[in-house]
């Protein structure tokens, strides 16, 4: 009698089974020697592999997938350079609290530390840019580590988790059972906020005559928008959001003043300057929000809601801090608050809105602002927008009003050029029926444009709007305004013909040079759904983003239009 031997899975097979159990749909990756066993195991799973052309692209795709859905994005790369190419994507996810799992192949255990081929100390290199990381030393640890990694990545303040997998572990057997419970004594997720803090907050709000709610990415992540809307309406308080807070609450709501900070709307910043109470909800008083700290809201009461207690007193010492999930805190707070005596204040904010609208000079050639303004009008907030980093990003933030949560994906904290296009691919895979636009500059797009092939092969109807001014425009703007227009390292002479470039990948492409053609071309792109398409907008070369608060200056130093006099060099970092 022969017994049927039970096949023991390999470490890689176990790993993939763990991904299946976590509900993973896609793995974004690029193979290599040390990761071959894992790629081999991918053959037998329903999880789809999205083969990228560069590992940075894989991280931003996973990031875009995660930001669009709230679910961790998964990256799989090989050891050495494959792994180090994920560092930028890890930083991007870390700075913006994005859940991500990065699986890196590693040399066999007996070669660790011996400068083996394609060996890199990946856990060592990435310590500062991960929420947590693991170097797997025994195959039996795989189920536990995978369970913990997903749990850590998506809970609390989300973030990236890296798992370094020696090849002999993934190739060898693993008969450890799946793990259902996590046991992490050093990891605590804040629960409900004590009633005393809610009462204290309500007391401060009751006294406020000029309140402002300042909402950030934490509000997006916890889907706090509906609760914030109810709070704002109950209080009669204007709302401003950060770059990453766009979409938590509909930016077209009458109480909404749009984005605040360095390139925020004049009326949002005027409201922050004039308020007597500012309540941060899932926002971290970034230097691009506060400007010169000593002069930021000096006389206003400050309330801070954040899930990460390390954010309290980091930049600002709030009068009340409430540690918890933004949505839950706000929902708990609503019953305690009353309408503020803020009619005059809201009227004043409305007046500023009318007095200092976003504007741009419509004379001269094609303006990026016009293209984005029209894109907003034609997509009506239904499209999911990703951006790259630079002038186009700020114009997009200003002119594209985000109406829905998780419809605005942008690299905020890290300011990663090359983010926008791959992030759009990840978002499009997550939401197949959604209209997805990547708004990018000519500089950043060229950092990850190799993923055109990835978008093409999967026939993803991602639409790429290249705002092409043939410059690294934001730096050029600083050089013009603060460095006597001594341009250095910003001229992108030698740019390719982006239409031909797209066509070389088999991708539909349009070019627009005149304002009169913008609607027609954008409509064509919107209607084109047979795969990706590229719209190259050749905009005027030397245009600036206004309003602008010079880095490190107080908010009141806001420049609303091009200054006639020379400006002092900014003292803030960036």
């Amino acid at each position: 009698m022969t017994t049927n031997p039970v096949k023991i899975p390999t470490g890689a097979e176990k790993l993939i089974q763990c991904l299946e159990k976590e509900g993973v749909e896609y793995v974004f990756g690029l193979s290599g020697g040390a990761a071959i066993p894992i790629f081999d195991a991918l053959v037998d799973t329903h999880i789809k592999l999205i083969l990228v052309r560069h590992e940075q692209g894989a991280t931003h795709m996973a990031d875009g997938y995660a930001r669009a859905t709230g679910k961790p994005g998964v990256v799989l790369v090989t050891s050495g350079p494959g792994a180090t190419n994920t560092v930028t994507g890890l930083l991007t996810a870390m700075m913006d609290s994005v859940p991500m799992i990065v699986l890196t192949g590693q040399t066999i255990r007996s070669s660790l530390g011996k400068d083996a081929f394609q060996e890199a100390d990946v856990t060592g290199i990435t310590y500062p840019v991960v929420k947590h990381s693991y170097l797997v030393k025994d195959a039996s640890e795989i189920p536990r580590i995978m369970k913990e990694a997903f749990y850590i990545a998506r809970t609390g303040r989300p973030g990236p988790v890296l798992i370094d997998l020696p090849k002999d572990i993934t190739a060898g057997p693993c008969d450890a059972p799946f793990v259902e419970e996590v046991n992490l004594p050093g990891y605590e997720i804040p629960g409900a906020v004590p009633v005393e803090q809610l009462e204290q907050t309500a007391k401060l709000l009751r006294r406020a005559r000029r309140p402002v709610l300042y909402i950030g990415h934490g509000s997006v992540i916890s889907d706090a928008g509906p609760a914030i809307l109810r709070l704002a309406e109950k209080l009669n308080a204007p709302v401003v959001n950060t770059l990453l807070g766009k979409g938590a609450m509909d930016e077209t709501h009458p109480l909404h003043l749009g984005m605040l900070g360095m390139h925020g709307t004049a009326y949002a910043n005027k409201a922050v300057i004039g308020c007597d109470l500012i309540m941060a909800i899932g926002a971290r008083w970034d230097d691009r929000i506060t400007g010169k700290l000593d002069e930021f809201c000096t006389d206003a009461m400050k309330i801070h809601v954040d899930i990460d207690p390390a954010e309290f007193n980091k930049v600002i010492r709030p009068d009340v801090s409430m540690c918890g999930d933004a949505r839950r805190v706000i929902e708990d707070l609503i019953p305690f608050v009353d309408r503020c005596e803020s009619d005059e204040w809201v009227a004043q904010c409305d007046k500023w809105k009318r007095q200092f609208p976003l504007k741009y000079n419509k004379q001269g050639g094609l303006k990026a602002q016009h293209v984005l303004d029209r894109l907003d009008a034609l997509t009506k907030g239904e499209a999911l927008i990703t951006t790259d980093v630079g002038q186009h990003q700020m114009w997009a933030a200003q002119f594209l009003k985000t109406r829905k949560n998780r419809h605005w994906l942008s690299s905020g904290g890290a300011g990663t050029m090359g983010f926008g296009f791959p992030a759009a691919i990840g978002a499009q895979l997550a939401l197949p029926g959604k209209q997805v636009w990547a708004v990018v500059g000519d500089g950043g797009f060229q950092m990850t444009l190799c993923e055109l092939a990835t978008a093409f092969i999967h026939k993803l109807p991602v639409k790429v709007l290249i705002v092409n001014n043939n410059y690294l425009g934001m730096v050029r703007q600083w050089q013009e305004l603060f460095f006597d227009n001594r341009l250095s390292g910003v001229d992108l002479e030698g740019n390719p013909d982006f239409v031909k470039l797209a066509e070389a990948y088999g991708i539909k492409a349009f070019r627009v040079k005149r304002a009169a053609d913008v609607d027609r071309i954008l409509k064509k792109a919107i209607e084109y759904n047979d795969g990706p398409c590229v719209v190259e907008a050749e905009v005027v070369k030397e245009d600036n983003v206004f309003p602008m608060i010079p880095a490190g200056a107080p908010l009141r130093n806001m420049i609303i239009e091009r200054p006639k006099h020379k400006l002092e060099k900014p003292t803030g970092s960036t």
Partner: protein
Amino acid sequence: MNITGIENSGVHTISLFVNNKPGVLVRVALVFSRRGYNIDSLVVSPTSEENFARMTITCSGDEEVFEQIIKQLAKLIDVVRAEDHTEQDMVGTEVALVKVAVPMESRTSLLQVAEHYKAKVVDYGSETLMLRVHGETRKLDNMMSLLSAYDVREVVRSGKIVMARGNLQT
């Protein structure tokens, strides 16, 4: 109340209860280095629980960012507890080994110093003496300053360990 008396402004004593696994020390060290903090002493030692270790750290740097240091340490997944004992009622102690070159015939005064500080002679050689002394950091500092009159060849100090008094948790 300050028991050890060494906590001048800017010097802090932190106790961490951490997972006992590779990489934890690096994660902890990075919290300090990123914020320009210097680690003055660091003791890693086993605990009564097999899977956990104790780190006792004295450090100095900008007061403004100290709160961040503690919070960022507590935020590390591998750190179970991060306690700042700086202003706390605690017992602190450290050990020093001191090697002094001194001829046989002129050892009396050195041995008097040793006796005063309850230092033990742990190696009595023909050319050198080795003393072992333990106690609060300030006591060790004082003894070291007296010994500077001698030909001190080597000093190895363990770094400080602390324990909170009474019901306070270390």
